[in-house]
């Protein structure tokens, strides 16, 4: 029984076709609709309160496939339509779903499909100095050759009037962070408009996947966003495993969960410290970084990599944990918990810090919903979303045993995003203890066969930033035809743009840090 499936059938009737034995896991509904009904399908989804999780295009010569992935509760539904290569137009979803705005700009820039009725088709990720006809995701595009630079200009959206001035920031920022460009229009201290421009770290990752072997792809996935290496390689492996029907051992799943939670703790600790640092409370940064370093060192000692990179492989995991390792983690958690709680009290009792973080950078719940935000950003703005609960893999599917508690706050300010992290660190500490105490025995990996031709695989994993989606498709010869990567940043960057106006310029770094979205994961 699927609510979304029922909704789309009742709205489109005969027009919607369900294709069996194509996309896995089968719990994710896959259907095709005629191009003319693509918006109608979106309308039916919107009526069912579904959110748009991703939108992407594929080339299946002589067609372009246009895909939209919707999510409601624990259900995912993917709608596909096709358009010919001579007439690569399809109806836009922007009138129904705001995040389609960026997705479609990206599809238009990189695949050359044309969303008809899209309000703003300026190129995205594709810079103005790319040749106009360069569509890297098309099969005819030779990715190995460098592209010539051409003349071009990017049109910025502008606020004008007396006293309005502009501050351009980036792409090379003042700190040790990734590159991106932000343009503020401000009156006095007050920001009235922020426009982001991303794409500086576009490395052609999605195209690169297409030249890789299935068994090697996890390494590239682990480098889509280096801070989320565990969750990205996990999502890739799970999509691949679902295509081939391979089910890793229980122990492998539990170890994956362990890595995922350790990654979450390490990044959240760093973020909480950095947020406080941007509010001029450097004490917290140094304290939190000390705790984070402890976690990374234990990772290095037990799993021989500080970020557990390349330790999740197709078919399982590459490294096991023994009794000594378990003891090590448990004693570390004891230390961590004690130190962390002391620091949380300090955070909580500091009025000058509170003054900076409360009511700053507010993303209202209705806006977050409209933008289909995910992860910590969504949970700080009243949305109850977490793949660990709504799309779980073992052991998270044992609800009554693991009893995962996901924090949801409604104020949507910097404090809410910090506090969601605080709560998640506590919860992850508890989950890791539970995982270690209940870990089943067994193999940790197995041999995985490459998937057969013309199949697709889907996976959604809750990384520390939020839901990561991978959609893999095999071509006629069984090769990787398409690997769609949707980092949480692809949608959440829009949230930052919406949260900034009305704040003062000096609060921007603070707001940005509280979102802490990935540039690399977005630009691909």
């Amino acid at each position: 029984m699927s609510l979304l499936k029922d909704a789309i059938i009742s709205a489109l009737g005969e027009d919607v076709k369900f294709r069996e034995n194509y996309q896995y896991p089968v719990s994710v509904v896959f259907c095709t609709v005629p191009k003319t009904k693509f918006t109608e399908a979106a309308k039916a989804m919107k009526k069912s309160y579904a959110l748009l999780a991703a939108e992407w295009a594929t080339e299946e010569t002589p067609w372009f496939g246009i895909f939209a992935c919707y999510r409601w509760g624990s259900e995912y539904l993917i709608v596909k339509t096709v358009t010919t290569m001579d007439d690569p137009a399809f109806p836009t979803l922007t009138k129904k779903y705001l995040p389609a705005y960026r997705f479609e700009r990206q599809m238009n820039s990189l695949m050359g499909v044309v969303p008809e009725g899209h309000p703003d088709l300026r190129p995205w990720i594709k810079f103005e100095d790319w040749p106009q006809d360069a569509y890297p995701l098309r099969k005819s595009f030779d990715a190995s050759k460098p592209m010539p630079r051409v003349e071009g200009e990017y049109r910025w959206s502008r606020a004008e009037g007396e006293g309005v001035y502009e501050i351009p920031v980036g792409p090379v920022h003042a700190g040790i962070i990734e590159p991106g460009h932000f343009r503020f229009q401000a009156i006095g201290e007050q920001i009235i408009n922020l426009e982001e421009r991303l794409g500086y770290v576009h490395k052609g990752i999605e195209k690169r996947f297409e030249s890789m072997r299935w068994v090697d792809g996890f390494r590239l996935a682990g480098r889509v966003s280096g801070d989320t290496t565990v969750a990205h390689s996990l999502a890739y492996c799970m999509a691949l495993e679902s295509m081939t029907g391979f089910v890793p051992s229980e122990r492998a799943f539990w170890l994956r969960a362990l890595f995922l939670e350790r990654e979450r703790i390490a990044n959240h600790l760093g973020d909480i410290g950095a947020i406080c640092n941007d509010a001029a409370f450097a004490f917290m940064l140094y304290q939190m970084m000390r705790l984070k370093e402890g976690i990374l060192r234990t990772n290095s000692e037990l799993f021989s990599h500080r970020f557990i990179m390349d330790r999740i492989i197709p078919g399982g995991v590459a490294v096991d944990i023994d009794l000594k390792g378990k003891e090590k983690i448990l004693s570390e958690l004891k230390w961590l918990e004690k130190e962390f709680e002391k620091l949380v009290t300090i955070y909580d009792e500091n009025p000058s810090l509170e003054d900076r973080v409360r009511d700053t950078g507010v993303l209202l719940p209705e806006k977050a919903r409209e933008l289909c935000a995910v992860g910590i950003v969504a949970r700080a703005s009243g949305m109850n979303l977490d793949c660990r609960i709504f799309n779980p893999f073992p052991p998270y599917d044992q609800y009554d045993r693991i009893e995962l508690d996901v924090p949801v706050l409604v104020t949507g300010d910097v404090h809410a995003r910090t506090w969601v992290r605080v709560h998640e660190v506590r919860e992850s500490i508890r989950v890791i203890r539970w995982l270690l105490d209940n870990m089943p025995d067994g193999n940790i990996n197995g041999t995985i066969e490459p998937p057969s031709s013309e199949k697709a695989g889907f996976a959604a994993v809750e990384g520390w930033r939020g839901e990561i989606i991978y959609w893999l498709q095999s071509g006629p010869a069984g090769e990787i035809n398409r690997c769609m990567v949707r980092d949480p940043s692809s949608v959440n960057w829009l949230g930052l743009e919406q949260a900034i106006p009305g704040n003062i310029v000096p609060d921007f770094p603070l707001c940005n840090k509280s979102f802490n979205q990935s540039y690399s994961g977005h630009d691909l």
């Binding site: 190995s144 792409p171 090379v172 040790i176 990734e178 576009h202 052609g204 690169r208 009792e349 630009d523």
Partner: protein, 170 residues
């Protein structure tokens, strides 16, 4: 306030001696680096970090250089916000096509002798991203590089040892 003070004193000094803790996988491309640093900076070095297309893995480890355990400032090494004050550029890569111009401009804005260190496997040779329409490969494809620090990502100890090796000409 009392909690903050108590936490500071109970934490104490956590800075560790990491010299030689991990033999850095560093390749010094020319003797220009050793010479220049020894002669001009006397162990005090301002570094400007430039992300030319990295996945953010190297950035996390460069952050860790500044934490209280690795505490790079004790050696006179600090990260500066502007290339105008920088003696050294710490470039993580690969160089994406979209960052090429910004990287060149940053290089041009840095005063001579503007030493350049390529950080991480991708910065050294393009790594897993290789040379494609969007990735130009290693940093030395775009600007001259004086030293290479390998690793994916290089650990903070490797980074620190790499810089110190360069400074002291060990």
């Amino acid at each position: 306030m009392i909690r903050i003070l108590r936490q500071i004193f109970s934490t104490g000094i956590v800075t560790e001696d990491v010299l030689g803790q991990e033999e850095a996988n560093i390749k010094v491309a020319g003797d220009r680096l050793e010479e220049a640093v020894k002669k001009l900076f006397r162990g005090s070095l301002a570094i400007r970090h430039v992300d030319a297309g990295s996945c953010n893995g190297c950035e996390l480890e460069i952050h860790a250089l500044n934490n209280s355990i690795y505490n790079c400032e004790r050696y006179g090494i600090h990260f500066t916000a502007s290339p105008r004050f920088a003696d050294m550029l710490f470039v993580t890569g690969p160089v994406s096509r979209n960052m090429e111009i910004a990287l060149r401009r940053t290089y041009d804005a840095t005063p001579t002798p503007k030493l350049v260190v390529a950080v991480g496997d991708c910065g050294c040779n393009g790594g897993i991203f290789g040379e494609t329409y969007a990735s130009l490969g290693g940093i030395d494809k775009v600007i001259p590089v004086d030293a290479y620090i390998y690793g994916c990502p290089p650990t903070p100890a490797a980074l620190l040892n790499g810089i110190l090796k360069a400074i002291e000409g060990k």
